[in-house]
């Protein structure tokens, strides 16, 4: 079961890359390589959900598993200056079979950037700790083994608790909000969420135990919980979940940006131009360009029109849509040299975020 699920991950990635990336890009994606290009690609191809799912496995091992599928003929590698990886016809059929069991598409579509994934995971972890705490508080107890041990997350949860000194209110409110969330979900989804949570009366199930209970794969369980957290985050923006909302990170703040990109961003916020930032930071223009792309991915509200005109954005996005292009160089061949690489990169980031804010 697990092998099947995992093969599906490779197939999804290959099918999304569709000849526009090398096989090694799949390895980088699945292992969650901390690299701006990998993160930007994940956003570009809508594969951010897959980022880092094979974190614990060595690069060689991941490559070996990928090669097995290439040898089997499920994944094809097109030769060229740069090899392009894609799903073969047989691979597509296999993927469809697995899609019916594991529903990768729903997971991939729930998340548009690595930052969103991080935000969903952090929300879920804080919620788990919060519910556990509330469960003990409901019985008047404050000492227990916390399910989340990251200090930073513990402190954030603690802050929410301290803001709500009336414990009875707190417990009933969190219960109400979770109940409302669950009403919107089907029974399998409810099991994923509720049985994973720990409380005083019982500890939560491990992913493996959840998978056994629901007759699916461990990896699928993990991924769907992140999906549910991500979808809930979106849902909470328009409807009222006052308490749960406090457990969500502010959308695309400084969190998730590399320190150096944060510095670039703060100079931009002070009103410095691109050239001034390059000068003040003493970095290459290319590096600052990478920062801009990183910021645009992390923050859908980041105003890219300072760097690329509205007209150009529209044209780039139209080309991407109509010709199905994703490679920056191919887009540039289409639109012409008066479009810089930076302009195309920024516009393509926004294209994938559904236009974003222009």
């Amino acid at each position: 079961m697990n092998v099947e699920f995992e093969e599906g991950l490779f197939l999804v990635a290959a099918s999304r890359f569709h000849g526009e990336r090398t096989p090694q890009a799949i390895v980088h994606l699945l292992r969650g390589r901390k690299n701006n290009q990998v993160i930007a690609d994940a956003a570009l191809f809508g594969t951010s959900m897959l980022y880092g799912v094979m974190q614990g496995i060595s690069a060689d091992e991941v490559r070996n598993r990928l090669n097995t599928l290439i040898e089997r003929g499920w994944i094809e590698v097109h030769p060229g200056v740069k090899e392009g990886v894609c799903c073969s016809m047989v691979g597509k059929e296999e993927l469809q079979k697995r899609e019916r069991t594991f529903h990768y598409e729903a997971c991939l579509n729930a998340i548009t950037s690595v930052h969103e994934k991080v935000r969903a995971v952090r929300f879920w972890k804080k919620l788990s700790l919060f519910v556990q705490t509330a469960s003990y508080l409901a019985e008047g107890e404050t000492l227990f083994y916390p399910v989340i041990e990251q200090r930073e997350l513990q402190q954030e949860v603690k802050r929410v608790l301290l803001d709500n000194p009336d414990r009875r209110m707190l417990v009933s409110q969190v219960k109400q909000e979770i109940a409302r969330w669950m009403e919107e979900r089907n029974d399998e989804e409810r099991q994923l969420i509720l049985r994973r949570l720990s409380g005083k009366a019982r500890a939560g199930l491990t992913y493996r135990q959840l998978a056994d209970t629901l007759h699916t794969a461990e990896g699928a369980v993990t991924m769907h919980i992140i999906r549910l957290a991500a979808e809930q985050l979106v849902c909470m923006e328009s409807s009222s979940y006052p308490l749960l909302m406090k457990l969500a990170d502010k959308r695309a703040g400084e969190a998730g940006l590399t320190r150096t990109a944060q510095q670039t961003r703060s100079l931009l916020n002070k009103g410095y131009s691109f050239e001034q930032v390059v000068h003040r930071r003493g970095l290459k223009p290319g590096t600052i360009e990478d920062h801009l792309v990183e910021i645009a991915i992390a923050d859908p509200d980041f105003d890219i029109q300072r760097f690329v005109s509205y007209k150009k954005i529209k044209r780039i996005q139209a080309v991407m849509r109509e010709k199905g292009l994703k490679k920056i160089s191919e887009i540039r061949r289409e639109v012409g040299d008066e479009y810089s690489f930076l302009e195309i990169r920024l516009a393509s980031v926004r294209a994938l975020q559904g236009g974003g804010r222009l």
């Binding site: 409901a138 227990f144 083994y145 979770i178 720990s198 409380g199 009366a201 019982r202 500890a203 199930l205």
Partner: protein, 522 residues
């Protein structure tokens, strides 16, 4: 014997109640605690499950300044700290090299700000000079060496980093030292005292006989019979219980078999699982949701579950010390408990192989030594990755080699860096390495000998409790309930009244009920 004043003793009892909720000390505890409170070095030997931790945790909370605890296993450290916090003792922390640098820095800052009362450290962390220098700025009132047998070559779990502890103690201004172990033969005791400057009259030796544990051995003709014995035991024994395996695969496989047999309320546990998942299994076991855990020895060290009623061993442990340590988790509350080792004629292979893997082979040793031979008189840095790539040497292999080379004056001042080691190669580094190979193999053979002793215990037709006692130069004859299979066992004591029900259908799951259970509102 050193005596506390009456006032001191009273405040000791008060603290015992306040922090740990106990009214009385268990045998040996008070005798051990006296020494650190009066600033004296001591060695305490208490059976596993005899309440070793309190022997240093209590003085640590009463003394001014900070207590440092050296502990060999990261998982054990984490368990201990979790456990203390669970009791409301928040000022406990642990630092080891597996944590991110940022995390370590934050914790060290807490230490410098004197927010930490009990600090657990892995021994290899203490070998890093920068870390040691900073630590030396903080007043240390007690230095605890947990699992102190690791310091001795004659122990079953010798760790080279433990050997350099006396230097660390000196750098910390010679605070009183408390060494603790559950398993030390006489030779090991002497070694510990010598290395940590503990007067031999400060040894507090409590009998390691666990009177309430019954020792059984079940012989099977082959693997298949062993499996069926295992499942028969699981069907009849009163839980909760643990089944130990020497391999992760073994634990997972037994779990799968039990699933196929429809046995519910069981789980597997090993070090290859993610930390969060391991924590959940521990919790389920502690909260009584699981009857059986199939585990490697990564499970149970720091778990304080007093009512584990049986421990089964599916594989033979590599030595008697390990066996006692793992069996010691049975019935810490003093009620009768049952231990059984399942033995088949051909299962000597695995422990022997595991021992062999702990030591470098001849080719690896020669390769590594030849490399150093080209660097005489130079300072050398060896990276963990490099050692693995060039000579196939694991971290523990390099540690062993450096340790012996230092002893033979082939190199000087080896210490740890973030990703490896740095040391100076002697001008007199030899051209031939036979003596190194001989020494390392001697150590390995020593371990084989211990394995042999374990096997002999299995087959000798005499009282098992008595033999265990003799091994530690003690006389063990009293038992609370049944003694052992040689003396005769009344199995009714350990079996449940009603045999396990065959699989029960899970009732219909209803989300509102689940939510009510999670967040009950009265």
């Amino acid at each position: 014997m050193i005596q506390l004043t009456q006032v001191q003793e009273q405040s000791l009892y008060k603290a015992l109640t306040r922090y740990f909720g106990h009214e009385e000390f268990r045998p040996g505890q008070l005798d051990i605690i006296r020494y650190p409170l009066l600033g004296e070095n001591a060695l305490g030997i208490l059976a596993t499950g005899g309440g070793k931790s309190i022997c240093y945790q209590l003085p640590a909370l009463m003394l001014e300044g900070m207590t440092i605890v050296i502990s060999p296993l990261i998982s054990l450290m984490a368990d201990q700290v979790r456990h203390l916090r669970r009791q409301g003792i928040q000022h406990a922390e642990y630092i080891n090299s597996a944590q991110s640098l940022e995390e370590q820095r934050w914790k060290l800052q807490q230490v410098m700000d004197k927010n930490v009362k009990i600090l657990y450290i892995s021994p290899e962390k203490l070998q890093q000079e920068g870390f040691m220098e900073q630590l030396a700025c903080v007043p240390v009132s007690l230095f605890v060496v947990d699992e102190a047998h690791c310091i001795s070559q004659w122990g079953h779990d010798f760790r080279t980093d433990y050997q350099r502890l006396h230097n660390c103690i000196r750098k910390l201004g010679n605070p009183p030292v408390l060494a603790l172990t559950a398993t030390a033969t006489e030779a090991v005791q002497q070694d510990i005292c010598l290395q940590l400057s503990i007067p031999t009259k400060h040894i507090v030796l409590q009998s390691v006989n666990r009177e309430n544990i019954c020792y059984d051995v079940a012989f099977a003709a082959d693997e298949r019979e062993k499996e069926s014995i295992l499942f028969e035991k699981l069907r009849t024994l009163k839980g909760p219980g643990l089944v130990y395996f020497r391999s992760r695969h073994g634990a997972e496989r037994a779990f799968q078999l039990s699933q196929m047999r429809g046995i519910t309320h069981c789980a597997f546990y090993h070090g290859g699982m993610m930390a969060e998942e391991r924590l959940l299994i521990q919790q389920q076991f502690l909260q009584g949701e699981l009857d059986v855990v199939f585990a490697t020895n990564a499970f149970g060290m720091g778990i304080d579950k007093p009512d584990i009623r049986f421990v089964l061993h599916y594989h033979t442990p590599p030595d008697i010390e390990s066996y006692l340590q793992e069996v010691g988790r049975v019935s810490r509350d003093g009620a009768p408990g049952y231990a059984c080792l399942l033995s088949a004629p051909d299962d000597g292979f695995l422990p022997g192989q595991l021992i062999a893997e702990e030591y470098p082979n001849e080719k690896q040793m020669n390769g590594f030594a030849a490399f150093l031979g080209t660097l005489r008189g130079q300072e050398v840095r060896v990276d963990k990755q490099e050692a693995l790539a060039c000579w196939g040497l694991e971290e523990q292999h390099v540690s062993i080699l450096l340790y012996h080379m230092e002893k033979m004056n082939w190199l000087y001042q080896p210490h740890r860096t973030k990703d490896g080691w740095v040391f100076e190669v002697s001008e007199a580094f030899p051209d031939r390495y036979a003596s190194l190979v001989r020494t390392v193999f001697h150590r390995r053979d020593e371990r084989y000998r211990k394995l042999e002793e374990m096997r002999r215990w299995l087959t000798e037709p005499v009282c098992r409790r008595e033999t265990l006692g003799k091994y530690f130069s003690q006389e063990h004859c009293t038992s609370l309930a049944s003694c052992c299979d040689r003396c005769g066992i009344d199995m009714a004591l350990y079996e449940r009244q009603m045999p396990a029900e065959e699989e029960q259908l899970e009732e219909h799951w209803e989300w509102r009920q689940e939510l009510d259970r999670l967040l009950p509102i009265s």
